[in-house]
């Protein structure tokens, strides 16, 4: 059986669509299809992939309008004999399916996605104890693999290039919800600007497309309520 891979390509100057007929076997993934094209039909096709097991977050592409991880999506599961494959939206396209993640990662950095402690002591390190319940409160949000799927469907990120986006705000919430963290203040400040949490209007598509079910929409709402209370408390007190 053959499936048509209709790929939106970009060579640095112009956009164009190109179709490839790919022989498909049972259980074959989209990524294997892309490799088939690169190895047998057109070696100039560019796409990004690394781990092939849904961990590295490199291979998000848009298939028939919806962003998915190419490595974790079986061709048969898309249920179509013709697949429109495009680079994910809201990112600058470098070549074919490869997009520029520089800004996305800078936004991630901006929320300080690491444990902040006041008692850092590298000479005599101490264990930071946490109950299973405390861990459960942020665990889901820590599963993000930074694939950019959520950011690519966010209507606010589509029109405002400096919006932090669902992934970065979720990372901020992941640490705020962590009982060991002591950097809450800095993170509230980071998301409180008008390029932060206020740009979310709960289209909630981020939660729909997240391949790791991280529930970014939930994290952004929690982050926003806390940030609002924090900002207002700051003015009153």
């Amino acid at each position: 059986m053959k499936v048509i891979f209709n790929i939106r390509r970009f060579d640095g100057e112009k956009d164009y669509w190109q179709s490839f007929a790919v022989p498909v076997f049972r259980g074959m993934t989209l990524l294997e299809g892309l490799f088939y094209i690169k190895e047998n039909l057109d070696g100039s096709l560019a796409f990004r992939a690394s781990c092939r097991m849904g961990v590295c977050g490199s291979c998000a592409v848009k298939v028939n309008g919806k962003p998915v991880l190419a490595c974790e999506t079986q061709i048969s599961s898309v249920n179509s004999s013709k697949l429109d494959i495009e680079p994910i939206d809201n990112f600058r396209v470098i070549k074919d399916l490869v997009t520029d993640f520089e800004g996305f990662f800078r936004k991630h950095e901006a929320v300080k996605p690491y444990l902040i402690r006041n008692d850092d002591n590298y000479e005599n390190p101490v264990e930071l104890i946490q109950t299973p319940k405390q861990m459960k409160s942020y665990y889901t949000f820590s599963l993000c693999i930074k694939c950019g799927a959520c950011y690519s469907v966010c209507p606010a990120a589509a029109t405002r290039s400096d919006y932090l986006g669902p992934a970065a705000i979720t990372a901020a919430w992941r640490f705020i919800a962590d009982s060991r963290d002591e950097g809450k203040e800095e993170r509230y400040e980071a998301v409180c600007g008008d390029n932060g949490v206020w740009r979310c209007h709960f289209a909630a598509e981020c939660s729909e497309v997240c391949p790791k079910k991280v529930e970014p929409a939930k994290a952004v709402q929690k982050m926003r309520i806390r940030t609002a209370l924090h900002a207002i408390k700051k003015v009153i007190l």
Partner: protein, 125 residues
């Protein structure tokens, strides 16, 4: 990167489409609010001016617009309550059920209100 991206449909779930419709109806209602406030100025211009405006706008010819405006208002209101609850962190896990409920309630209220509007405009005077 254009405002057309707010109204993307392909590959999107009902969640996104509701956002698009909310924004669209919001803009429609914004324009209507400006019109509404403006034509209330006629109250100051005297009874004749006001009543001639009412006679034109509250008429069978305007009924389709009224009913569409009702739909925009009811959708924006009902969907808005859903969004407010979700944004305040209430019912995230039930967001799909709330979404379907919002459409159902919108449809029911719209039918009831449209019948009432029809009776008001066309019915016995």
């Amino acid at each position: 990167m254009s405002v057309a991206d707010w109204f993307r449909v392909r590959g999107r779930s009902l969640q996104s489409i509701s956002f698009s419709l909310h924004r669209l109806t919001g803009l429609v209602l914004f324009i209507y609010l400006l019109m509404h406030l403006s034509y209330l100025t006629s109250l100051k211009l005297g009874k004749e001016v006001y009543e001639s405006l009412i006679a034109t706008t509250v008429s069978p010819a305007f009924l389709p617009f009224d009913i569409l405006l009702l739909l925009a208002t009811i959708f924006h209101g009902v969907n808005g309550i859903r969004v407010v609850l979700n944004e305040f962190g209430i019912g995230y896990e039930a967001r799909k059920a709330m979404l379907y409920a919002a459409y159902l309630i919108t449809a029911i209220l719209w039918i009831i209100a449209s019948v009432a509007m029809y009776n008001f405009v066309v019915g016995v005077r």
